[in-house]
Symmetry: C2
Subunit: 334 residues, 2 copies
């Protein structure tokens, strides 16, 4: 049996109330002497309060739920780390839930988290935008904040933290334009995915500003598809640069270029999006748009924890700025 507050009280010859007070540093006013005596016994008996019992009465579990599609997707680990760091810093623990973008699993987890009495949920939903997900969340009556996905409708009625995807794509494209490129293709993600759409928008904006022709080619956010598309695209056009709307696709393009005997950046400049770790291992190192998923996670955790403290809730949406990281896959052709 585990040591409980009762055991401490008995051994110290005081009431459990008193023990509770010293454990929680309640100002109540406890003589220095008893305080020290109790603390010593606590130490001796290696007593740790039962958080379950405590939460039952205080009505807060100091626990958050983190719901995301799949931690194995290289985008998420950093984000998780951000969440965990900040949560822990504020005394919160976090439950990790992988949904595989499956609505049934999402439902299941939200219910589970509710049973576990989490104080808040950080939620990254299915890529395909759907009100349904958020309804489930709403119904659970647990404060939540969306993360990464769900940016699409500007005036979101929910708390959220996102990356400014349009801006990122704009920066990437602008970089190529500034280097003197004119035939610049955009390898896109699936059109139904919000982040993919926003990136296309950013590309188009930059191209239109420079009065250059739009050239879209779909790669579905996948290495293989990007490889295939590039294999077709590159030989037939005089494209001198590609903006790949994620890094994984940039890898596919690297492969295609390699097989076509094209040198990057000599014959082809490439910019990616994400700045996932592997990108530094490529030859040449990939110039890309960094979206700090760590900051994303940290910000989301911060938001929800602050929210929990406040009485009056207000909806807040944060958009983080992406950043161009110039490495070796682009070159000036002026």
């Amino acid at each position: 049996m585990r040591v409980t507050i009762k055991d401490i009280a008995k051994k110290a010859g005081v009431s459990i109330t008193t023990v509770s007070r010293v454990m929680n540093d309640k100002l109540g006013g406890i003589s220095q002497e008893t305080k020290e005596r109790i603390l010593k016994i606590v130490e001796e008996m290696n007593y740790q309060p039962n958080a379950l019992a405590r939460s039952l009465v205080t009505k807060q579990s100091l626990t958050l739920g983190l719901v995301l599609p799949n931690i194995s997707n290289p985008f998420f680990p950093e984000m998780v780390r951000g969440v965990e760091d900040l949560a822990n810093h504020h005394g919160y623990s976090v439950f990790l839930c992988n949904t595989d973008d499956d609505e049934e699993k999402e439902k299941h987890y939200i219910q589970l988290l509710k049973e576990k009495y989490v104080d808040g949920i950080i939620f990254s939903s299915n890529s395909r935008y759907s009100e349904a997900h958020y309804e489930i969340l709403q119904k659970a009556h647990i404060p939540f904040v969306l993360i990464d996905r769900g940016e699409e409708d500007g005036n979101s009625p929910y708390n959220g933290v996102f990356i400014d995807n349009e801006k990122g794509a704009y920066l990437a494209t602008k970089h190529l334009i500034d280097l003197g490129h004119e035939k610049i293709a955009c390898m896109t993600g699936p059109k139904e995915v919000g982040t993919a759409r926003r990136r296309i928008l950013g590309y188009q904006k930059a191209m239109m500003e420079a009065n250059l022709p739009i050239l879209l080619e779909t790669g579905n956010f996948r290495m293989k598809d990007a490889y295939t598309s590039a294999k077709k695209l590159l030989p037939s056009n005089e494209i001198s640069a590609i903006f790949a709307s994620n890094d994984v696709m940039a890898c596919g393009i690297y492969q295609a270029a390699y097989e076509l005997g094209m040198n990057i950046p000599k014959d082809l400049s490439v910019v990616g999006f994400d700045d996932i770790q592997l990108v530094e291992a490529l030859t040449p190192k990939l110039t890309t748009i960094r979206q700090s998923s760590y900051t994303l996670g940290k910000t989301a955790a911060e938001m929800i924890i602050q929210d929990l403290k406040k009485a009056k809730k207000e909806t807040k949406v944060v958009k983080l700025d992406p950043e161009l990281v110039i490495r070796q896959s682009t070159r000036s052709i002026k």
Copy 2:
């Protein structure tokens, strides 16, 4: 206020005991009629039992703690996924804890997990083997299983799941030998790290069996160090193959070879270790040793959950078999 068992009982005109019984499918014998009535009300009022309260009396939280150095390390996400999948399958949730290999944090988290009343802990400790970590765990009196790290002393007194590192290195080296290579170098990790040492052992075993000369070069498990070492090593020797004891170092070797104008696999065969995701994005694709971290996680979770069910505890150590994945970075020179 949240709906409680009382609310349901009142609305259904029964005692809370009865409600509890239907919620838990206790055989007790409940009339079909009342059962259905209660279930309907539960549905209507969207009632979910409070797991905290339940755990308080049942003495089990259906919760596990997963303690690891850093989820951002590309080795872990898959492992986490394995743990989570299996845990969830058995109705367990998991708390994620990042320790950064810091002993203070480890202590902190173990205490926290104890407070949260987790039923078991899956623990991946500091690379440097130290009894201290395990003592802390022991003292918490929570069942635990070590994962990945801690393999070193064969007759471990603790439950654990590991990869057979020696065997993996042996397989890698043997593969190169079978291809006809004779001057095979081994790029090693830090000698103090157990996994690194075991991989050296495997390499040496294969080389000695074939009567070939040992050639060790340290790369510290890091890309940059491997790059530097390779840059020095490759020009001066007639090395035709390298076994890199992790994939990240293989990347460094790729870079060095590229800059030295050596073609992989024409001029140099390379085998890695880990099979991290990025490896398929390399050109040419890396031949490597796959250690299924997913299985690692899954097995660990399985072990601890089984352990929780049993009355008589017995220490168990599982060693998983690594697997050679042949891709395009090696070639026969017979």
